[in-house]
Amino acid sequence: MDESMHDKQPPSVTAASPPPEKPKGKPKTLKCPACAGTITVKAVGITINAVCSSCSSVIDITNENYQIIEKANQNTRKTLLDIGCRGRLSGVEWEVIGYIEKTDASGKYNWDEYLLYNPYYGFRFLVQDSGHWNFVKVLRQDVPGAGISSEILFEGQKFARFLTGEAIVSYVKGEFYWRVKKGERTFVADYIAPPRMLSFEKNDQEISVSLGEYIENDVVVDAFAVKGKMPYKTGVAPNQPAPDQAWFGKLWRVAATAFAIVLAVQFTTCAIADNTEVYHEQIEVSPQQKDQTITTASFNIPKAGNVLIQSSSPIQNDWVELDMSLVNDRTNEQYELKQAIEYYQGHDGGEDWTEGSTSANTYISRVPAGSYRLLMDMDAGALMRNSPVFLSLTIMRDVPAWSNFWLATVSIFIYPLYTLLKRWRFEKTRWSESDFPPAIYRILEQEEEDAS
């Protein structure tokens, strides 16, 4: 090389001698300044704080000085996912390179955060809280309102504020790309739109917003081949999707469609019903006739259909009982029914009250066409007192009845309403952990508080 510098025309290096080989990327090992153990760094060039796996001291590796940030002399704690284990999530392989345990301000409640690394895709977090897991990505875009608003609009979705509080680092293991320190306090605000959650974190150094997605335990177990026992799920996680989330909307759409059809059928029925009177009589029954069977004249039912028998009597604090038979003149087929007309009223302690009604209506289904008579045996309070009874009898046919409609409607909505109740209870449990529950989930809270 020295000789070529003295020449006027330095010889050019031919393509036959290629440039020095570039070293391929690989983890870096260094000696722990505290205990001389080996520290292996995976995210070389990015990691700035590494925790020695032998003595748990935190070392600053931004430069070759390898300063000890926090000296310790303890064994590393065992965690569910080991540092170095790999797993595949959303088609990408991730390696666990760090672990942080955090607590809330009271110190009584804690959760795990695993730092995942892929040299191509960057970093993610796997957060375990009360047995529920979230796959989290730090966002680079600005999220207006994060940390201050009660609601955030993000990617067209509304995220509702769920909690604000503090997160305090209580234990660290592995390596990190920021200066993580035990005891470090961060202000946290979580916003939910199940299954997603926006987490806003702020401390003296920086502000960051992350997007988390709820993932099922078995996804984590399958991805990382977890051998240990997964923590037991308690309660409902803030962004846990409701079990019926996928088909809840569809259920109500089906119910609404069925209801619309049923309503249309009913209106059609009402529109095309003949609704005609086939018999009417004002009957007076004297006390002497009280054991006699009353028979109506024959009347014609031209077409098969329903029949409505309407009886009324202008009674007061009295009763009339009718034992009826609708008899077909030709075949002698009969339809038996009972009607009770009871009407009482009074004046008690300054208030008027009434009970019962002066009329009774009974439907008979599917009466075939033909000539009919109605036979009646009557019992009445008036008759027993030797007074006459005045009865108004009307018989109608092809009457648009509403009971079919109501029965169909109730049948249609029983299951959706049951699902709604289950959903409401699920959401109430979800929001019971929050300081900002929507009003509808605060019902019954006061009663529960009073009871306890």
Binding site: V254, A258, V265, N332, S365, R366, L375, L407
Partner: protein, 45 residues
């Protein structure tokens, strides 16, 4: 579950349509006045 419920709704709609068109009134069916007895009655007065 959805399939079961949809089938159930179809059934309810069909039953109601048939009932309305044929003159069946559910409340009377349930209380028993739909039954006819082919008995010779002796109510001749």
């Amino acid at each position: 579950m959805m399939k079961l419920y949809t089938a159930f709704c179809v059934l309810v709609v069909l039953l109601m349509t048939i009932a309305n068109s044929q003159g069946y009134v559910m409340t009377s069916l349930l209380s028993g006045t739909a039954r006819a007895d082919k008995t010779i009655n002796h109510y001749h007065k």
